[in-house]
């Protein structure tokens, strides 16, 4: 499986390198703005860094779905399926590479954000006051500190990885069960929306059933529940997708 993961990374490193270059440019802009106390430059740097963070997570995930689609609908599929590996291993390698990349990217931007906030508060006491003021308005349940920031970030990453594996399922259905049928792309996209929508509704329903008044806003229990819920459904979608690939896909 190690070799499969290695080649999955090889297929996607270019796009990651481009994202890193943009991040470096905006980080330099941010630091220059901070040290020179140039608010326009600082604001631009922060804005673009936030955009790059969400953009990076989005692009890496969607590109993973695109790669899977290419790997099962073109002749390049032989490169994977002629090797002595089953669909569970092939898809597992893709999922590990993609989810791992998303996770590492998320952690990278989390750490970068924490470092940047520390630098910013060190150079501008007003920022610290502003954060304290915002947290006061948000109140105890919704205020943000480093711990909450990290937990919420992991929660969002888990939801996104679930969305990616559901995307894997959709393109696999399109290339196998619906292969050659009219509108297979649209049907599989609708399936993607229905599945992700249903899982979210189910999540909210379970939450409503078990959430007590003191669990409003941020709680560690809620975050842990979210993580387990979405990691669980990620595993379920992975198994279903690999089964479809193993039994219904003709390369």
């Amino acid at each position: 499986m190690g070799n499969l993961i290695k080649y999955e990374f090889r297929k996607t490193w270019m796009i990651k390198a481009i994202i890193l270059v943009f991040t470096a440019i905006f980080e330099v802009l941010f630091l220059a703005g901070t040290f020179s106390k140039n608010e326009d430059m600082l604001g631009t740097g922060i804005g673009f860094l936030m955009l790059t963070t969400f953009g990076a997570l989005f692009i890496i995930g969607v590109y993973g779905i695109f790669r899977l689609h290419k790997d099962i609908t073109t002749k390049q599929s032989y490169m994977l399926f002629m090797t002595p590996h089953n669909s569970y291993t092939i898809l597992g390698a893709k999922l590990i590479e993609n989810a791992g990349s998303i996770l590492l990217t998320g952690v990278f931007y989390m750490v970068l954000a924490l470092i940047d906030i520390t630098i910013l508060t060190a150079y501008s006491g007003e920022i610290e006051q502003a954060i304290a003021f915002i947290n006061e308005i948000l109140g105890e349940h919704y205020s943000i500190d480093t711990y909450r920031f990290i937990m919420i970030s992991f929660d969002m990453i888990a939801v996104w990885i679930f969305n990616i594996v559901t995307g894997f399922f959709a393109v696999t259905i399109s290339a196998s069960v619906l292969n050659g049928k009219k509108g297979s792309g649209i049907i599989s996209f609708i399936m993607y929306l229905v599945i992700t929508g249903f899982i979210e509704k189910l999540h909210n329903f379970v939450m409503d059933c078990f959430t007590s008044a003191d669990m409003i806003g941020f709680t560690t229990g809620r975050m842990v529940y979210n993580l387990i819920y979405y990691i669980g459904f990620t595993v379920i979608m992975y198994v279903i997708t690999a089964w479809v690939m193993d039994n219904k896909l003709s390369v």
């Binding site: 002749k75 032989y78 002595p84 050659g180 003709s250 390369v251």
Partner: protein
């Protein structure tokens, strides 16, 4: 060694392979012959474990085709399938990473004989060079069964000679070679058995030498005889 038992493969609205039963033995070079769309590629893909039969079974050494049999059965598709970013050298490394029976020394020898440079980008190769590369990568494996799907497709006469020589270098007593093609004359001098696939069905397996000496007919003429009633794009 490789046994096909009542193998059928159906796609939406089409039966690609219809109840093929046959047996391939080691020490032979088989030609798999039939017009386009007769089911040769689909049967090979099933034997390679790339797709599953709708019914029936293909067995290798008595075992059903599985992930394990991919270690012994080397398949080469007719279409180019390497990743665009690869160089000729990368193709060798990829095979070495995934196939225990792959010999980098043999690969280096074969690509040198084919005048292919390791630094060449796969996407820049001509169809003839690509055909040579595919065959070199496949034949650098020490597999028990080689299945080559249309290895001579779209390449000039000199390249065909090089490719055929490379294929023959790997033939020995313990191995089975299966080459599909509709270039019957090109294969006639190198194969000793010919399998005919007609309208998705098995239409016979012939000993090429016996055809010549006993039936007084060349493989090409036998092909014409078998497929004379099949629509071959205007050629009768």
């Amino acid at each position: 060694m490789l046994e096909s038992i009542e193998v059928t493969k159906k796609f939406v609205g089409k039966t690609a392979v219809d109840g093929i039963t046959m047996q391939l033995e080691p020490g032979h070079i088989y030609a798999m012959l039939g017009p386009n769309g007769s089911g040769k590629t689909t049967w090979m893909k099933m034997a390679a474990g790339l797709i599953k039969p709708t019914s029936g079974q293909i067995r290798y050494m008595g075992q059903p085709i599985s992930i394990e049999t991919k270690n012994d059965i080397a398949y080469m598709s007719t279409e180019p399938y390497f990743y665009d970013w690869m160089t000729v050298g990368d193709v060798g490394k990829y095979y070495a990473d995934f196939f225990k029976d792959f010999s980098m020394d043999k690969y280096d020898y074969l690509i040198e004989k084919m005048d292919l440079e390791k630094k060449l980008k796969v996407k820049s190769l001509s169809s003839g060079m690509m055909a040579k590369l595919k065959v070199a990568a496949t034949m650098a494996r020490d597999a028990k069964v080689y299945m080559l799907d249309e290895p001579l497709n779209g390449i000039d006469l000199l390249a065909r000679d090089s490719v055929m020589n490379m294929i023959l270098m790997s033939a020995d007593e313990g191995k089975t070679l299966l080459i599909s093609s509709h270039l019957v004359e090109e294969l006639e001098s190198v194969v000793d058995k010919a399998i005919f696939i007609k309208n998705s069905k098995f239409a016979g397996i012939y000993d090429v030498e016996a055809l010549r000496t006993e039936d007084n007919i060349s493989l090409a003429d036998k092909y014409r005889q078998v497929f004379s009633d099949v629509d071959m794009g205007g050629i009768q």
